[in-house]
């Protein structure tokens, strides 16, 4: 009942909020990269919290979901500011996109490289979203 009441309200609030136009001087691909970073971080967090709420259940009943969660959790080392930083893979995707974005802003990466980095992270985000939706069906 609560869900039935909340769904249309949430949908309405989202639709009414609309989408913002970019300020003059804002680089659309940089803003897009930052939006992708925010959405990716939030989506991975949500997905991993769902899996973390009952890892034993998902390991037994939804092995692909848990395997993807473990894939995102696996530590990897990435270069960051002249040193190496160890992060879970999901967060390293976000950090890597941020590095490419900064390189683009400083003129040492092309917009194609940034677009590719955005596309790469969106694949993992889509996969996490598919699992979130799937486990609620």
């Amino acid at each position: 009942m609560k869900a039935l009441l909340l769904s249309p309200l949430l949908a309405l609030s989202l639709l009414l909020s609309g989408c913002a136009h970019l300020d003059k001087g804002a680089d659309p691909i940089v803003v897009r990269a930052e939006q992708s970073e925010s959405v990716a971080k939030a989506t991975f967090d949500t997905f991993l919290q769902i899996d973390n709420s009952n890892r034993a259940f998902f390991t037994t009943n939804a092995p692909p979901l848990h395997a993807f969660a473990e894939y995102l959790r696996a530590p990897v080392t990435i270069p960051s500011g002249g040193t190496n930083l160890s992060l879970p893979r999901g967060l390293s995707f976000v950090a890597s996109l941020d590095s490419v974005k900064l390189a683009y802003q400083h003129g040492s990466a092309t917009s194609n490289a940034l677009a590719t980095a955005i596309a790469v992270i969106e694949v993992s985000v889509s996969q996490a979203q598919a699992f979130i939706v799937q486990q609620h069906k």
Partner: protein, 65 residues
């Protein structure tokens, strides 16, 4: 940007049933959709700090071997 709204709508049942996590996700996606300019340096470093802080949360820790 309509893709972001479509994304939220497609995930509505999951958002509602995940409760707090779902609400936090909606807030993040809505904030992203409303972004109109590039992050200033302080937002950039705050985001990276939050990313590093996430890494030690229990949800991000791999299963024990």
């Amino acid at each position: 940007m309509s893709a972001i709204i479509a994304l939220i709508l497609a995930n509505l049942p999951a958002i509602i049933s995940t409760g707090k996590a779902g609400v936090a996700w909606v807030a993040s996606v809505r904030a992203a959709a409303k972004q109109t300019k590039e992050w200033p340096p302080e937002a950039e470093s705050a985001f990276m700090d939050a990313l590093i802080a996430d890494a030690v949360q229990s949800a991000w820790r791999p299963d024990p071997k």
